[in-house]
Amino acid sequence: MAALILPAGLLVLLLLVAPMVMLFRISLNEYSPTQLMIEALQPGNYLRALADPYYQGVMGTTMTVALSCTAICLIIGFPAAWWLARMDSKQKSLAVILTVFPLLVGNVVRSAGWMALLGRDGAINAALRGLGIISEPLQLLYTQGAVIVGIVAVVAPYMILTLSAVIEGIPRNLEEAAANLGAGPLTAFRRVVLPLAVPGVVAGSVLVFILCMNAYATPVLLGGPQFKMMAPAVYDQFVRGTNWPFGAALAFLLLMVTLVLTVLGSAVVGRRYKAQ
């Protein structure tokens, strides 16, 4: 039986663990403008990244965007997931296809669409000006809001599908039993559906949060040159600055922050609902 996981295990070992180990080794090296890097074992790159207000700001922005996106996905995703889970099986396959439809379009293509919509002369500004509501175009593109909207549109399907799989496992007649005992729809949701959906909420949020923390194309295209999140910052160090050790340190900081927040978040939610 153990042999069955061998192919997948080897793949992970070769293509994920090995590069990560190498990357971690690189992050301890010293940067050299002439030789790319000098072999060393020192924490300087991490200390610099942690002390630099610029990177503190980038990490702050990344966390703000990721947490906002996760919260928004949860709020808009739960009703949609419930609706999907309680649907007749006939229409459900169509609804699932519609839900994953945004994923059929690549990140870059989709962002180009958002740019056409949100730009100075984009569809929204044109419409508002045409209606006489505004005289000067609004700054919609290259804002944090644009990035959040853009990322939510990509990751919402993951949240909806994860949640609906869990909600489907909650017997429908539990909601009926709650209603029969005098609970209105909101109370039934709060007391019965939500607590039982917690595993889905945790799984969906973790998935979405990780995707958001590592978003690359959307922040670059919709955030513009002034707006920085961690994944593009890492890329800049590797490709533009060719400072591999510092880039590797940034990458590991991103990984650690994501990991800590994910573990903490699921532990807090899990404990709160286990108590009931």
Partner: protein, 352 residues
């Protein structure tokens, strides 16, 4: 507690009428069973009373109040679901307390009433368990307690025994009936099991194809079924096609004359005879000749299957003592069948 009245209750799904004009009055403290094969509309009827299905036409009155369009949480019903539908994340006490909480009952009173309800179903001591730590029968009793504790005007049971094994089912049947009578609960009970309905209900409603076929007590339905469907569904019956030829004489399609009630109206009909009313002698005598096909020994009783005028009939009687002549009957033997004309019942032909 209150009464329950259904008037012309109807539910259509597109062109498909699942429940068709059901009228029913359940008196205070009465247990009425909705009985019928699967797909007869009994569960949909119950769900319309609970408010989970919106009626296409007709009215539902609970304790005199029209609740036809009230949401489920606005009706005073207590339902026990087929799968119990216990909240898996709440303890037994939490489950039972839920309805009281929704009604704004204070904590102290709530705890007292939960305890009392659990004692009623003999589950005190298990209050802090989770549903998954209980056996099927215990879960069933939690579901009962949860529905009872709020003193609903109408108590609804949706095949509550179908997930229990046969022995437990017989026990719980008695238990539910005792509780229902002791507390005087107005109850609507859905089942497809005629034995369950016969032993528990004050009155039975036999449904088929979304319509009510007959309403009555167990005796009325068994002894005076309104049609062939009811006769077949409640107990077993020998049904013979033919016509009433003269007072007390029924002629089958192939011309054999059989006893029937003297007051039967002449014309085509189906003669129905319960298996225990059929008598037979292992020799030629006054009566109808028939051939024994097989016997089925059931312990205290034995089934005798005959062919009479080309039609299969069955007699049920106490197993004769050892050494009795009847014990030596073998398939292929000729016998004489006989019954009292008044024991047969004539029903309209092709009732459906």
């Amino acid at each position: 507690m209150g009464t329950l009245q259904l008037q012309g209750l109807t539910r259509r799904y597109g062109a498909n009428t699942v429940v068709d004009g059901v009228d029913l009055d359940v008196a205070e403290g009465e247990l009425v069973a909705l009985l019928g094969p699967s797909g007869c509309g009994k569960t949909t009827t119950l769900r319309m009373v609970a408010g989970f299905v919106e009626p296409s036409a007709g009215t539902v009155r609970i304790a005199g109040k029209d609740v036809t369009h009230a949401p489920p949480h606005g009706r005073d019903t207590g339902m026990v679901f087929q799968s119990y539908a216990l909240f898996p994340h709440m303890t037994v006490a939490g489950n039972v307390a839920f309805g009281l909480e929704m009604r704004g009952v204070g904590k102290a009173e709530r705890e007292a009433r939960v305890l009392e309800a659990l004692r009623l179903v003999r589950l005190d001591g298990l209050a802090e368990r989770l549903p998954r730590q209980l056996s099927g029968g215990q879960q069933q009793r939690v579901a009962l307690a949860r529905a009872l504790v709020v003193n609903p005007a109408v108590f609804l049971l949706d095949e509550p025994l179908s997930n229990l094994d046969a022995k437990l089912r017989a026990e719980v049947r008695v238990e539910i009936r005792n509780l229902q009578q002791r507390l005087g609960l107005t109850t609507l009970f859905v089942t497809h099991d005629q034995e369950e309905a016969l032993t528990m209900a004050d009155r039975l409603v036999v449904m088929e194809g979304g319509r009510v076929r007959q309403v009555g007590t167990a005796e009325e339905l068994y002894e005076r079924p309104a049609d062939l469907f009811v006769a077949n569904f409640i107990g077993r019956v020998n049904a013979l096609a033919g016509e009433v030829a003269a007072p007390g004489a029924f002629r089958t399609t192939d011309g054999t004359t059989l006893p029937c009630p003297r007051d039967a109206a002449p014309g085509r009909a189906t003669l129905c005879l319960r298996p225990e009313k059929l008598r037979f002698q292992p020799w030629a005598s006054a009566g109808v000749p028939a051939k024994l096909e097989r016997t089925v020994y059931l312990g205290g009783q034995t089934e005798y299957h005959f062919t009479l005028a080309g039609m299969a009939v069955m007699a049920l009687r106490e197993t004769p003592p050892e050494g009795d002549r009847l014990r030596s009957l073998r398939p292929g033997d000729q016998v004489t069948l006989d019954w009292l004309g008044e024991d047969a019942r004539l029903l309209p032909e092709a009732a459906r």
